[in-house]
């Protein structure tokens, strides 16, 4: 989780990623940010997030994103 928070904080240092749960709804992360995060996750965790998983529920918070990473790595 810490590595993920680091990735997110590097993108937007001013956002409280530990508590924010509206990253997509409040347009904090845009489509460019999402792709940057996905490529960082790919490099850090060796996980490929497929396009169908790019939905607000998975990207609205760091926790949701971490749950997605865990689920995908279990599937692999």
């Amino acid at each position: 989780m810490e590595a993920l928070l680091e990735i997110l904080e590097e993108l937007h240092p001013d956002v409280d990623f530990e508590n924010c749960e509206t990253l997509i709804d409040d347009k904090i992360l845009d489509s460019f940010d999402i792709i940057t995060v996905i490529s960082e996750i790919n490099a850090e965790y060796d996980i490929a997030i497929p396009a169908e998983e790019i939905i607000p529920e998975n990207f609205n918070s760091a926790k949701a994103l971490y749950a997605l990473i865990t689920r995908l790595s279990d599937d692999e």
Partner: protein
């Protein structure tokens, strides 16, 4: 059948009446019949295309879903017996079969669209090259008419197919209900491009007559007519005059043409969508909004989240994301980061995906280099603003203007001017003419002519300008009121006298000031040609 024609109004009135008179369980069937009657009027021979899309999506969608079910049953049956590797292998084999069905469906439907819409553009380019290399032979153009709404219903149906493949929802089992989704007539002309999970429930549901819904829907239709026939079609006369003679109308007139077209396109497209959403509301069917006061955007990225929302989100979800997270692209990102450094390496693949998406968005709008350039110009500005982020951060740290009214106004004006200048590619006959017209704004100093009565030679009288100015004031006022909620809901709270004075006033304005008179006829919607 034009939305603004008498036939269409009669068609709507009959539909609304019958819709609420028949037993509710037949409502969706009546809508399907209405769709095909509407489509039939655009040309009976075009029915084959929409039927092909419907049938192919029905077969492929259900085949993909039955493979989903086959997989679930097999995995449940063999739970505990299969190793992790066996499960993975089995899933991959099923996925590959599903992918084939999706691919056939996409190739067939996008193939039809490509041939009908783009074949002659391709031939024209090949002929140009043949001529350039001195070959005397030329390829003959195909005689193909563009079926109404083909870009819209193809994209809407292929979005449905991709969602079914992704397992987002099961496919529609009833082919007639699927046909209703594919051909829903109010959105055939110019969108919005709906999603099946947004539209299907409200489309197939039985609807009671709801006075508030029907009256709000009729008000929305009226508002759309006002924008289209009073404002857009009136402005069209001046826009045509200015852009069809770019040698005469340069400098100040190119600027006026640019701004007039921005106004016309806004009134035309949003007016059409108002009519579409209004028709849906009268029928009890909720369509998603396609605009969110786009001219109040602070930058071009925000603008594209607020203009033609359904098209932008289609390209984002079904093209930008899949390209960007495609395994070879992720590997390319890794390579870029290693070779070019972290900062640049991580951005280049995103920019490549953006270029592909904007090229596709441009070409979606029309088969010409103008639209390709329009897409590239949008992409260039978005990438440039992305690259300028460090400067913006520095600027806002240094100067505390972010929330000042003057700065917000500057941002809005900048976005309007930027978008309007990019849209010049829509207007002029070819790319070089567009560049010449744009350049003339800075090199031909004839701005004094704007005040010597020349504007009255563009086909519009002083009275027309007054109507347009009044319309602009009304549009801006309504947009400002919308910031705090629905205008119609606010209006509904007003006394009867005020409301009915406004409704009847609007009807009279549309009848009296609508651009039906000598010199101009109510025209097709601009987006209909896309």
């Amino acid at each position: 059948m034009l939305f603004t024609s008498y036939e269409f109004i009669a068609f709507l009135l009959i539909l609304f009446l019958v819709y609420y008179l028949i037993p509710k369980r037949f409502q969706w069937m009546l809508l399907l019949a209405a769709n095909y009657i509407f489509y039939f009027f655009s040309g009976p021979k075009f029915l084959i295309y929409i039927l092909t899309t419907t049938v192919s999506a029905y077969i492929a969608g259900n085949r993909i879903h039955s493979l989903h079910e086959e997989q679930a049953a097999y995995l449940a049956e063999n739970k505990g017996r299969l190793s992790r590797e066996d499960r993975k292998e089995y899933k991959a084999a099923i996925k590959s079969r599903q992918w084939k069905w999706l691919l056939y469906c996409l190739l067939l439907n996008f193939g039809i669209l490509a041939v009908i819409k783009y074949a002659n553009f391709g031939i024209a380019n090949v002929n140009y090259l043949l001529q350039a290399f001195g070959s005397g032979s030329q390829i003959s153009f195909l005689k193909l008419a563009l079926p109404m709404g083909i870009s819209f219903y193809t994209f809407q149906t292929m979005g449905y197919m991709i969602d079914v493949y992704r397992g987002k929802y099961p496919p529609e089992k009833n082919i007639f209900k699927l046909a209703l989704f594919v051909s829903f007539f109010p959105q055939l002309v110019q969108g919005p491009i709906s999603r099946f999970d947004d539209l299907s429930e409200t489309l197939y549901k039985e609807h009671d007559f709801d006075y508030r819904n029907v009256s709000f829907g009729l008000q929305r239709i009226l508002w759309g007519f006002f924008k289209k026939v009073v404002l857009a079609d009136r402005m069209l006369v001046a826009v045509k005059t200015l852009i069809q003679d770019p040698e005469t109308y340069q400098g100040a007139f190119a600027l006026v043409g640019m701004l007039f077209y921005a106004f016309q396109l806004y009134a035309d497209f949003t007016g059409g969508i108002d009519i579409t959403i209004g028709i849906g509301q009268v029928l009890g069917i909720k369509l998603k909004e396609n605009f969110n006061r786009p001219y109040f955007s602070k930058n071009i990225t925000e603008y594209w989240r607020r203009w033609h929302i359904s098209l932008g989100s289609w390209f984002r979800e079904y093209l930008f994301y899949p390209i960007s997270v495609w395994k070879p692209m992720l590997n390319f990102t890794k390579w870029c980061r290693k070779t070019l450094g972290e900062a640049i390496g991580r951005r280049i693949p995103i920019y490549i995906s953006s270029i592909v998406v904007w090229a596709a968005t441009g070409i979606w709008h029309g088969a010409s280099w103008n639209f390709f350039m329009w897409g590239m110009a949008n992409c260039f500005v978005i990438i440039l603003s992305q690259e300028l982020q460090p400067f913006y951060t520095w600027f806002h740290n240094k100067f505390d203007v972010k929330h000042k009214f003057g700065f917000r106004l500057f941002q809005v004006v900048r976005t309007v001017l930027l978008m309007s200048s990019i849209r010049m590619f829509d207007c002029y006959v070819d790319v070089p003419t567009t560049f010449r017209a744009f350049w003339s704004m800075f090199t031909v100093f004839n701005y004094h002519e704007l005040f010597n009565g020349s504007l009255l030679n563009l086909g519009l009288s002083l009275a027309d300008y007054l109507v347009l100015l009044m319309g602009l004031v009304v549009l801006v006022t309504v947009s400002l009121i919308q910031r705090t909620g629905s205008v119609r809901a606010k209006l509904a709270a007003k006394p009867h006298m005020v409301r009915y004075a406004l409704y009847y006033g609007m009807i009279i304005v549309i009848i009296v000031l609508g651009a039906y008179g000598v010199g101009y006829d109510s025209s097709q919607f601009i987006y209909n040609q896309f």
